[in-house]
Symmetry: C2
């Protein structure tokens, strides 16, 4: 990505970071993850670009965990698991999102349904192993 025109270098870096990780990072996490490579990155830029990607449909905000928005660069619909112990957000790739229910939902609410989200919550493997204490799952 160092070859990209300079004016998009940070934007591209943020998008790649988002697309290459499965941790469903918050703005802060993107910032922290990119800061070592891009020391002059600023948090405002991360927020600005994240919102831009969201408008463009390149990313979406999948949940607010402990008061912090979590983003996902994987825009294909999939199911998430949110650990209430360590705030990890994990893809459940084996499960199918119930998109077939969209029509049913539409007839229930009488409007237009454009998205559906299915997520489970509980304790991840590490957290459920160590009781209810917090763990730092990557």
């Amino acid at each position: 990505m160092e070859r990209a025109p300079k004016q998009f270098r940070k934007r591209n870096a943020i998008l790649s970071y988002l697309q290459s990780t499965t941790e469903h990072p918050s703005a802060e996490m993107v910032y922290a993850g990119l800061k070592p490579q891009i020391p002059d990155l600023s948090l405002g830029t991360v927020y600005r670009n994240l919102n831009l990607f969201r408008q463009q449909g390149l990313a979406s905000c999948i949940a607010t965990v402990s008061g912090v928005e979590r983003f996902d660069g994987n825009t294909s619909p999939h199911v998430h698991f949110v650990c209430t112990g360590c705030d990890a957000v994990i893809d459940l790739t084996q499960l199918q999102p119930p998109e077939t229910l969209c029509n049913a939902a539409e007839s229930c609410c009488g409007g237009q349904v454009t998205g559906c989200q299915l997520s489970f919550s509980g304790l991840c493997r590490e957290c459920s192993g160590k009781g209810s204490e917090r763990c730092e799952t990557a």
Copy 2:
């Protein structure tokens, strides 16, 4: 509820409000809804009690819509629809939450699954009627 011992009067009022409405209110909405009956209610008290109910399992935070947490006093699992036009949160009582998938989710993530949330998003009847402008659905 006026008969309740004075020290629980506000707490009870907040809980009843939450349980009697289907609008899935935010703290601010609870406050605004109760303020006419309870003029000396303070927003801090609403927040404090809402968090207490959440800990006690009497209520849950079902979503963050436009940066604001929305609460639900109906703790039985059910499906929601979130209107991106007017931020209304509507129960889809006809749809069954996919609780049968909990076990599947658990085997995927290897931890303990304690909750599942299914929600749809789009435009409600009013908003989809009037195009994309905002509407003030109650």
